[in-house]
Symmetry: C2
Subunit: 427 residues, 2 copies
Amino acid sequence: MLITEMHVTPIAISDPPLLNAAGLHAPYALRTIVELVSDDHIYGLGEMPGGTEMVSLLESIRDLVLGSDPFQLNALSLAITEHLAQSAQPDQTDVAREKRAARAFSAVEIACLDLMGKATGRPVVDLLGGRVRERVPFSAYLFYKHPGAGGALGFGSDRHAQGWAAARQAAALDPDGLVAQAQAMCAAFGFQSIKLKGGVFEPAVEVETIHALRRAFGPEMPLRIDPNAVWRLDTAIRWGKELEGVLEYYEDPVRGQEDMAALRAAVSIPLATNMCTTSFAELPGSLRLGSEDIILSDHHMWGGLRASVELGRICRTFGRGLSMHSNSHLGISLAAMTHLAAAVPNLTYAVDTHYPWQSEEVLVGGRLRIEDGSLPVPTGPGLGIELDRAALAALHANYLACGLTKRDDEVEMQKVEPGWKFQPTRW
Amino acid sequence: MLITEMHVTPIAISDPPLLNAAGLHAPYALRTIVELVSDDHIYGLGEMPGGTEMVSLLESIRDLVLGSDPFQLNALSLAITEHLAQSAQPDQTDVAREKRAARAFSAVEIACLDLMGKATGRPVVDLLGGRVRERVPFSAYLFYKHPGAGGALGFGSDRHAQGWAAARQAAALDPDGLVAQAQAMCAAFGFQSIKLKGGVFEPAVEVETIHALRRAFGPEMPLRIDPNAVWRLDTAIRWGKELEGVLEYYEDPVRGQEDMAALRAAVSIPLATNMCTTSFAELPGSLRLGSEDIILSDHHMWGGLRASVELGRICRTFGRGLSMHSNSHLGISLAAMTHLAAAVPNLTYAVDTHYPWQSEEVLVGGRLRIEDGSLPVPTGPGLGIELDRAALAALHANYLACGLTKRDDEVEMQKVEPGWKFQPTRW
């Protein structure tokens, strides 16, 4: 079984004006769809972050992928790593080099696993050791946001779906707005954990939002806040002490392993990260410093599904919990996340997903349905999904038309707040 | 695909009177052959250490294995771990508990991977991410030994095979004897690395053996010595300093992570272990103390082939090299070791094997042929081997007839040296 075709298709999907520490989401989020076709006419799918840089990265490894056997993942990973090392900028750090190679390989690995699953008649989860759970729980992902949301909703016509359609359109710029957003989102999808994207307003406002969510949902609903590392250490300690006993975990309030470790020593809340420890190369520092309790894995960043399973073993071995990070994404990523999360015994936290914020899909049958806050683990061969080529073509046309080439939340924010600047440490 | 039959067959294989720190090998080494049969009439093979305790351990998990889908390895591992935890002695440590569960699961996992490979038409290595090398190099494994060796040799009739047959029979009780053994073994199998099992004679004799091997084979031949932790720290430092620049690695000269770490700080030779760090539970201590440079993995002990791949990632991440440990074994273990070693990029050392010391086999086609010191990675489905049921029956009859129920090298040594006692620290 050899790979004979590799199709890299950049797409743009409608995205609401969500606020975060880096600024504002553009009207379109960029993704990249990877399709590998084998000599026996099977196709495998992958989805990655988007933009021209990702497309260039994948084009740069095309010659290594074509002609490969999708089962030979180890060899392909080594070849990609070596090839990218040769073409790396001389000043690129080892960590940056690992991350670039991991990202390039991730895109291909997912599609290869889909091919392998289809070739063997097995769901991808079975190529990762099999499922340890039948459904994968996801977390509600709340955002402060400006009014409006592009895209046609595909969530159905029932009362809760309509409620979510309205909430997705609505502004949410204060605690009450976030509670309303959470209620609509949880009603529509049944989420049983809530994450608030912070780093947008004064910490007092965001902490008050957490308190408001707790009042609205009660103490049994796990709550998380993610200020994306724009809080100072003293700020994070101060508000962390107030949130002890309230948060399930405290995600990246401060920047870097050193400050995370100092914060961790000062407050009694589990610290989670998808910023200070995001590669295998950063794990020795994480252990040396004790920078977090929970790693938010991301198969797009860590080198694919098998590498993420290996990360799971590392977390189990060295006393780290495991959760999962998300970016704006469609169903190929969601399916891959679901297979992965089903295979990792110690992935015991509900997984982040932006999926409710998206409205489009590239899958036959349309959007995957999150119910009771979770997705069933697909049982069909491979990822268990099929590509809707008309939808893909439309979203690729969106990409060409929208003019965006990379995510830049700062520029987008400047369109509504002229002169706004991203500040790595803000409060 | 469900497992409908589980056959656990203890066997006894001829073993020469090899000396080691624990005493003397008995005339028979005990192994356990595991066969799982699926409802579509495929069988999968595993081979484990032997004796009544292993048989009991495997019988205790039989009900969990029967009816399982061999692809659901994660679930089976969890079920076995939980089951054994419930039946554990109250004073069993967490490390001991993990090791027991890992050992029980290993036996089943290998056979499941063989089933999975046969069911999908893929070699086991492809279920581990595929091969990164076409052949797996093994190391010559030298022993001080008494004269004699049971079993009929199956190595062929050429000059080198005859030479090895004679050397395998001969006594080897001094440096010259070991050089002759090494020459015969390397001529017959083409090994390009040499390991000396030490801990038998005064360190001066064993170090002189290393020097004699170096004189005989030249400085390009990698040499290792393994005193099985019976040297004191000061002894190991003294002789380690003399062996700097001579040894490829220095395996377990002292006992425990603390002493290994102290030795590592004192001598400039890579330290290897299959004694002080032999489970995931012991890795945090290994990193905290810095107890070794190289871990000798063993899929029979670490929880199977997939766990060993994960150990490989841990070694890559935290700066440990990776080699592989062996016990007296037959071709099922050898095939599994070969698939595993082929899939782990950083397994860059020649793998230990006792295989040349064995003379029997349970495989159709007889013994696997190590040539140029290496084995080709099997390309057939599963492990790529078939069970010779007549040979299995004969070796099971051996087991019943020989009366051995566990390995006890001390008792065996006392038969030739009355009153001999194992000393955990001897020199």
